[in-house]
């Protein structure tokens, strides 16, 4: 068993890495997956570097620590480096010329990335990096990969039409929750996830990290957001004035099946990883956290002002809920973009939790209703997406609402059918969780997409008036 590689052992690349760390503060903020775009990068320090392919071309696995004022985050990089035959990568991937080598972000270089899959299949260790296939997984090798373009905070490579390797960009110590939950669900035979096939992990400064997860790729799949958008598009373009249930594009059947799938995943997670009871003190804590978040965001977003009092009272009700309530491992960031429709049915993806949440928040036990609330919010978004930036149109607004009502209700019906408990029976908790999510959306839209701010704001207004 070889231990972590001492940096001295890969000495030949020290100079290259040192030059890289000087270029990275400028380069990192240009990358989509970089999570710290809100402030300048003060310094980048390399924590480990491991040559996966040596010579020319060179493929270097690098973990850096990025300092931004009082914050320090770890990121994973794959750096390609060549003197000759530099591949045709986009300009944004180019990091610069260091020590006579052209350095670039290498996930788009299929000549280099095929070694990742082959290493997993071979179960090899390179430096501190462990490449492992899951027990029972049989992998084809020699496949070339290309990155998918829709990924936000990580980078995923698709090998052939068979596998997808997700490289986690921002790293947190410990076995990655996504990998952990996939393994637990797969062990129970859950039909609602893509089969986990392998992982890349390693140790830095004595701490365990997950760098990548290999899964079965579903070439036949379409994601839930696209599926729902198809239905919304059909409704909005329809001139007949018929309600959503009368139109061919009706999505309620899918929403119902999706609700069942989510409920089944929750049941399996509870079975695999257990559930606990949250008592009055924890409920009070949750309530206080919601109110704290509300106050913080309301201070920045004046549009939230008119709702603050009623929001507070909705959040306060959480503290008074009859306790205990059951909490367990949940998805944590469930929305239509995190589910896939395949010919076998719905799958759930990305069990990492909210990208902005801390590790403690991500791994905390949650009420499954938090996932339900996330999905309900997503139906609202899907329904209203075509109205964003358009002049106000009462009739279209009403149609969007009718779509959202119908599909939210179908989702809850399906969830209740599979779980035996209709989530709407816990009305106060569900309302608070939805409102909490909507308040978070307000902050996000205010900072990133002001046009969209009306979507969560009008939802909040509606939920509060309906909740009374």
């Amino acid at each position: 068993m070889s231990g972590p590689v001492e940096t001295e052992e890969v000495g030949p690349h020290d100079e290259l890495v040192e030059q890289l760390t000087e270029t990275l503060p400028e380069w990192l903020p240009t990358q989509r997956w970089f999570g710290g775009k809100d402030r300048d990068v003060s310094a980048v320090r390399a924590l480990s570097w491991t040559p996966l392919l040596d010579g020319d071309p060179l493929l270097l696995h690098v973990v850096v620590e990025v300092e931004q004022a009082d914050r320090a985050e770890r990121y994973q990089l794959l750096v390609g480096s060549r003197q000759h035959q530099v591949p045709d990568v986009p300009a944004s991937a180019s990091i610069g010329v260091e020590a006579g080598f052209t350095c670039y972000e290498a996930t788009g270089d299929a000549d280099l990335t095929s070694c990742l899959l082959d290493s997993i299949a071979g179960g090899v260790q390179i430096g501190h990096l462990r490449f492992e296939a899951e027990p029972d997984a049989e992998l084809d090798t020699g496949l070339r990969a290309h990155p998918i373009t829709t990924e936000q905070s990580n980078t995923s490579l698709v090998y052939g039409r068979q596998y997808i390797l997700k490289l986690f960009r921002k790293l947190t110590p410990g076995v990655n929750k996504d990998l952990l939950l996939h393994r637990a669900l797969w062990k129970l035979g859950s039909p609602h996830i893509a089969e986990p096939l392998g992982a890349i992990s390693g140790e830095i400064d004595g701490e365990e990290f997950t760098f990548g997860m290999l899964q079965r790729f579903m070439p036949d799949a379409a994601d839930g957001w696209v599926m729902a958008s198809t239905s919304v598009r059909d409704l909005m373009a329809d001139g007949s004035g018929l309600p959503p249930e009368e139109l061919g594009g009706d999505f309620a059947g899918e929403a119902y099946r999706l609700g069942k799938a989510v409920a089944n995943v929750h049941a399996d997670l509870a079975r695999a990883l257990g559930s606990q009871e949250a008592h009055a003190a924890e409920l009070e804590g949750s309530s206080a956290a919601m109110i704290e978040r509300l106050d913080r965001i309301a201070a920045e977003v004046p549009e939230l002002g008119p709702h603050v009092e009623r929001l507070r009272s909705a959040f306060r009700k959480v503290a008074d809920l009859p306790s205990p309530i059951t909490v367990q491992s949940v998805h944590g960031d469930l929305h239509l973009g995190q589910v896939l429709r395949t010919v076998q049915g719905w799958l759930l993806l990305d069990f990492e939790g909210e990208p902005a949440a801390t590790l403690a928040e991500r791994t905390a036990l949650r009420s499954p209703l938090r996932d339900v609330a996330g999905m309900l919010r997503s139906f609202d978004y899907a329904a209203h997406q075509l109205l964003v930036g358009q002049p106000h149109d009462e009739e279209q607004e009403e149609r969007a609402l009718s779509w959202a009502r119908r599909n939210r209700s179908a989702f809850c019906d399906g969830y209740g059918k599979a779980s035996g408990a209709d989530p709407r029976e816990q009305a106060d908790l569900l309302l608070a969780l939805e409102l909490d999510k909507a308040v978070y959306e307000v902050a996000y839209e205010h900072a990133n997409r002001p046009d969209w701010l009306t979507v969560p704001l009008s939802s909040i207004a509606r939920m509060l008036s309906e909740g009374e």
Partner: protein, 617 residues
Amino acid sequence: MTTLQNPRGDRMHDDTAPDSELVGLEDTPHTGESIADDGTLVEPQAGDFAHAKQAPDDPEWFKRAVFYEVLVRAFADSDGDGTGDLRGLASKLDYLEWLGVDCLWLPPFYASPLRDGGYDISDFRAVLPEFGTVDDFVYLLEEAHRRGIRVITDLVLNHTSDAHPWFQASRQDPDGPYGDFYVWADDDSGYPDARIIFVDTETSNWTYDPVRGQFFWHRFFSHQPDLNFENEDVQEAMLDVMRFWLDLGIDGFRLDAVPYLFEEEGTNCENLPRTHDYLKRVRATIDREYPGRVLLAEANQWPSDVVEYFGDPKVGGDECHMAFHFPLMPRLFMAVRRESRFPISEILAQTPEIPGGAQWGIFLRNHDELTLEMVTDDERDYMYREYATDPRMKANIGIRRRLAPLLGNDRDQLELFTAMLLSLPGSPVLYYGDEIGMGDNIWLGDRDAVRTPMQWSPDRNAGFSRSDPGRVYLPPIMDAVYGYEAINVEAQAANDASLLNWTRRMIQVRKQHAAFGEGEFVDLGGSNPSVLAYKRVLRREDGDEDVVLCVNNLSRFPQPVELELGEHEGATPVELTGSVRFPRIGELPYLLTLPGYGFYWFQLAELEDESERRSMT
């Protein structure tokens, strides 16, 4: 009341004669016109008629063929009596050859009281008099074969009309040669687990016959007694019926209601092993005595059950050569209405492999209505359970309408549906009139709505018949949109841009690529659910592959799609209707954009650079 010649040769009227209910056959040979001394009915033999020359030898013709379902009654009237007939159909063979049809499927044209659209056969060896005679049928076969067109027809093995002389003899003489031809019982308690199929009209599968004083078994209408296949004489008699037509030159049969031939206590009396055994016997007879003729199973069941009717895959199939893929058709409509490929992808993913010598038959519309209620107790089937709960779709799919009205007469959708019909796995079956976008008449009885006269020209009776308009069996469509003055073969043949000429062109393109008929089907999926993309891959004997790529936009809106075609990196997609070269496939997903309801057919070809090609010239 009928006139018949008894075995002694003198003519007499006799209500109790075995053919007493056969009408209009006085002047033509038919079953039951005479009786042998042992009580056996004398039946016409193939040797009594001329035989048609066979179509060119090609044992696997059905795998690539384009079928065309045509109702004899509805196509062309040769004698001016207002009803289409076999001679009339024969006079239109030039049109069908021009269109590119390889095989006609004729619903039953046998002698029948027509209480079930001719599926109630009262004489397997006689033609319904208004359609003509057996000689007329031989003439049709001869003319069709001369043009390379084959002809198959429906044959109902399971039951006969109660007017069939066999039944008449059976009820009157329990101890005679036909006494055991039907399933008789002293009470109605047998086979309680068999469902009643026509629940609207029937209350039991047993009906009491006062003549014989016993109950007889029927899975369908009470005027259609089931034949008793336990009886070796029945098994042989039905083989002889097939031999009769095969000797005359027919190219095969669509076997109606095949799951119900045998009954067994404690079962639902469907798909029983002995039913399959008999079909194997029929197939062996065909293979031995009439190679190249086909059997097409009508089993309105889930594909996983229907594949049983192809027989043993280890020998390439030893029952029926073909079977209709029923669940695909409603899903095509659902998919386009939902702008989602999943209804189609799912049912094809659940369709099992079929034996090497077998082929599906697929269709958009036919002479019957279609519903999603295919089987009642198929709990394991995800599709049925999930989609039957969408009532709106069910109501919209289970209706009796023609293709064009179902699609709102939208030319783009008509083309998309036809393109899918011609490119999905299976041999396509066109329904007469759909190639010109004929309409229907929902004010006629529901089944007649889609059975109106073929519209040949803007002339009287749509050019279908020279008769007095009041005498035509059903009025031709006359509304402003679909009426025969606007929609007819003559006008569309003269217009290069017509649906008819477009359909003909697509059939031609299909015929140029065997991959459409015999290629493996590979669903390509993709991130856009509104685009259905698949390839058909045919591995030739020399090891090379013919690959046809089909991309269909199920949405009314334009759509982009990125296809994973990495396996074909370096190949050039060549569009099949115009030979237009598209950009070469690279390592990255292949981007295509499609207009609303648009589709592409490509051949994936290994081509040299366009620039090299130019420099060569």
